[in-house]
Symmetry: C2
């Protein structure tokens, strides 16, 4: 499970510190075995809930890793999934001490081929940013356009022009005005938006 969020304006991934060999003490991706009576996606949803308490977020199969040497214990085939968790959902989570969020651009060495798995998930996410509305899955229920722009900028690692960004978002036609406003300090109040169809990722033509 590659579980992404945006934290302190940076793309971050949830890692678990391993307490057993191999790679004891090393950080790795959370995950586990597929049960006999569940689909692969059900197993991914269950792992996400067990490891983070989070349910109902965007989740997608990434890739299946099957190098015979990837696990020193024997042949283990890893069907990887990635999930996008809105950053506000994290505040309410009590995190077990062996779990921690790490910035994707400053990862420690990871167990097994997990570094390769995170890299592929990040590549997929960046590619999808170009041609889909996937980044909206990081947003809380209600958000301002400035908050949305900050999420895009943090994933892309570059500043975006405010006017162009707003035009692009408007063209997507997937947000609706909640009628509510958000006021921060001395700033002008900003409109709060929400997704028209939460959980749905549209392909941009």
């Amino acid at each position: 499970m590659v579980i992404f969020t945006i934290r302190s304006e940076r793309l971050a991934v949830l890692l678990r510190r391993r307490d057993k060999t191999p790679y004891a003490g090393c950080w790795g991706l959370p995950g586990g075995r597929v049960h006999a009576d569940e689909t692969l996606e059900q197993a991914a949803v269950r792992q996400l809930a067990e490891k983070t308490g989070i349910t109902g977020v965007y989740l997608e199969q990434l890739y299946t890793f099957g190098d015979p040497a990837r696990d020193p214990r024997g042949r283990v085939i890893a069907v990887s999934y990635y999930a996008l968790v809105p950053y506000n959902r994290l505040k309410v989570q009590a995190q077990p001490s062996e779990l921690a969020w790490h910035r994707v651009d400053a990862l420690p060495p990871l167990a097994f081929d997990h570094g390769k798995i995170v890299a592929m998930a990040q590549e997929r996410l960046c590619a999808k940013l170009d041609y889909s509305t996937i980044a909206l899955q990081f947003m809380p229920e209600k958000f301002t356009l400035s908050e949305l722009q900050a999420v895009y900028e943090s994933i892309l690692g570059e500043a975006l022009d405010k006017r162009n960004f707003r035009k692009r978002v408007q063209a997507l036609d997937c947000l609706e005005d909640t009628g509510e406003q958000f006021r921060a300090g001395k700033h002008r109040p900003a409109k709060l938006f929400r997704l028209k169809t939460p959980g749905r990722v549209e392909i941009i033509k």
Copy 2:
């Protein structure tokens, strides 16, 4: 293995008639078990070579199917790959009688969840047509721009404007003029092109 080609100007997929239960007599996708000492991709390359005699073509992991009920014999997880085979490579292949090419738009009922697998592969291929040079992988070593346009039209299922298509291909900058010409009947001779980097699929920005 979802093995695609363009045959009689239609997208086609290679199917195998099953001789054993379950689904005896039914058409299904060719495939087999992964050996203990090979990667998933090596297994896919081997299956392609064993079933069709074809090597050195474009091949990519598609998706992993793991519904517990997908195989009545027990839990079988299928890591699917799709391959694109240039249509001229097929002429030299002696095809075993249990293997046959089927038009993707007129498939018979398929064994297991293979219909779902073909549908997903076709969806991926069509999506990639929009933002990559994947269709070039169907081409023989040397080809005319009219032949390339016919391949795009056959996958998309619609006619394309010749001038716009040529502009679009030129912008890709991935073909080179062989200096040779192809002359068919009374038509003007047409330039023969080849890929600058065979096997490489470029993402179009």
